[in-house]
Subunit: 343 residues, 2 copies
């Protein structure tokens, strides 16, 4: 039962009409008589007609597809986003295709190139340093773009992300209020605004709390470190501190490796070391005694991003209202940061 794909022309032939008529009926344009309409619809239905997106795309210049370029496919953060973006896009008649950059600039460029070959109408992109030019090109070509999870300082492209500065600030402030005074900071050695903002929040919160910043308490893990290597590096970092009583991890990923490090060092949480990690995760909920986290508003971010994109795509005029959208995070308090009574 090989159903050769049937075309609009075939339907026209089968129904003794013209392709225009068929096209109109199928698209509900022009006014075609009831009976002819019905005949055409019947034949189309019976033969399982499906429009050829390529042809439509070529003709109209729109593909009705949105490209979602993320750092890693997989991973709960983008997984959750993907779901809501997909749903919203579908409501508006758009499909979504994903591509991942794996934090590799070249891969990022390749992916943008591939998608820009008329495959997608709009983009949601996790930006990374090195892609500025490509992304600006997209915008210059009047392609709708929304950045998520990051942005390019000084470049006006619509973006939506968590309030990295504020939520880090709050997390550190919370630690200080709970009685912790020697707070370590572990981040990745990547040039990402998100991470810089988180660091600034940390520094400012310390200052506001009257604590002197100590460079030795800040550790930047090389991005390309192997798992084991990374864990060892974190262990070394922790061991070198003499009286660190709390530690803040700037990402999910780092937090998990941090837990392993702390575990291997046999340090008690929070007795010997309090812990907070950015990005909530199942593991932080489960791992005893529960790890306090900064939970990103994934739903809101995704929803805002797709909304901004869709409005860009449908608006007749350029009307980029909110260029910057920073959404606050929630601090999820768990057992890893109990208030210090000894003090």
């Amino acid at each position: 039962m090989i159903k050769k794909k049937i075309s609009i022309k075939d339907i026209a032939r089968l129904t003794n009409t013209s392709i225009t008529t068929v096209s109109f009926v199928l698209n509900g344009k022009g006014r075609i008589s009831k009976e002819i309409s019905k005949k055409i619809l019947d034949v189309a239905q019976k033969n399982g007609y499906e429009p050829n997106r390529m042809a439509i795309g070529l003709r109209t210049g729109v593909s009705k597809v949105i490209g979602l370029i993320v750092e890693t496919i997989g991973g709960p953060f983008f997984g959750a986003m993907a779901k809501v973006i997909e749903e919203e896009a579908e409501k508006a008649g758009y499909g979504v295709i994903y591509c991942s950059t794996n934090n590799n600039i070249q891969k990022g460029k390749d992916v943008i190139k591939m998608l820009s070959q008329q495959l997608v109408d709009g983009y949601i992109i996790t930006p990374m340093k090195g892609l500025e030019k490509e992304i600006q090109n997209l915008v210059a070509n009047e392609k709708p773009v929304v950045l998520i999870d990051g942005y390019f300082p000084g470049i006006d492209i619509p973006h939506v992300l968590v309030d990295n500065y504020g939520s880090s600030y709050n997390a550190i402030e919370f630690l200080i209020k709970s009685g912790y005074k020697n707070i370590g900071f572990v981040t990745a050695d990547l040039e990402l605004v998100q991470l810089n903002d988180r660091m600034q929040g940390y520094k400012d919160a310390l200052k506001a709390g009257g604590i002197k910043e100590d460079k030795k308490k800040i550790f930047k893990l090389p991005f390309d470190a192997e798992r084991e290597e990374a864990v060892n590096a974190i262990k070394t970092f922790i061991s070198q501190q003499n009286q660190m009583d709390a530690i803040f991890f700037t990402t999910n990923y780092l937090g998990i490796m941090g837990l392993q490090s702390i575990n291997e060092l046999k340090l008690n949480i929070p007795g010997e070391l309090a812990v907070i990690s950015f990005d909530d995760n199942e593991i932080f909920n489960l791992y005893p005694p529960g790890i306090t986290t900064v939970r990103q508003p994934t739903y809101e971010i995704a929803k805002s991003a797709i909304d901004m994109l869709l409005s860009q795509m449908t608006a007749e005029k350029y009307n980029i209202a909110k260029i910057k959208l920073q959404i606050p995070a929630t601090l999820i308090e768990r057992g890893s940061t109990t208030t210090l009574v000894t003090k």
Copy 2:
């Protein structure tokens, strides 16, 4: 600096040649003189020429894109797969686009429909009951398809997945050899061959170990249960057993909720209850005392799947050599299943 997309025709005009010539040069077909070639290449380069995939697709009937339809985007299992599939596909000149079904039949149908509208040349699909017809249709239309993570019993479509039966059998056998005798089994209430195969492995291993199967030790969690509801159900199940000494979870997802249940019941692992879960996961490595798991060979599965697909796509003739590929899993032994000396 709006660069209007330049076409092959523009290049022809700019170089005083014909579109044929340009096309030939750009594709390295026909023999065009060195100088004209150079001129064309230069102009194309300078103007940032990019072929229009839609046009090529329309003309040639191939899109050079592979569709990957999975249950959930996000989640470590598919995340890892996606990465290797992407890499291999790229080597062969294919792009990859993802779509998720979220275990929803209608969504699955919609996604297949969307992709089948000439958007992709081949499919890698996580099958689910209810999609048999759509997928058979694809095959009937001579579209290359490879199923992963599952298959349709009785329907001959190439597929590759872990040896669900064998690896469950081994896991249970391992428990028995370690001295456990009352082994519970928690699975999801979904009609998936994977799960059925895992259950059969459990039953057969019990029988082989001389242990009588006990229906009351098998629990099927309703698929649509909310998180909390699910945890409670598992807690109830565990509490009702009088002397269960080990428990096997058939998925990652269940295993994690199982841990939470066990945690809330304050049962000691493995002292009061040994634990094994299907699908390895970071959390199982970290959660004390380490949870023994059946690790799926994600790399091999993904690699085989994309290889099978690519060979289907490039082969002149239908030459589906290995229709069924079942790859063994690895049992990762951790602290949750120490050998019982008391006994």
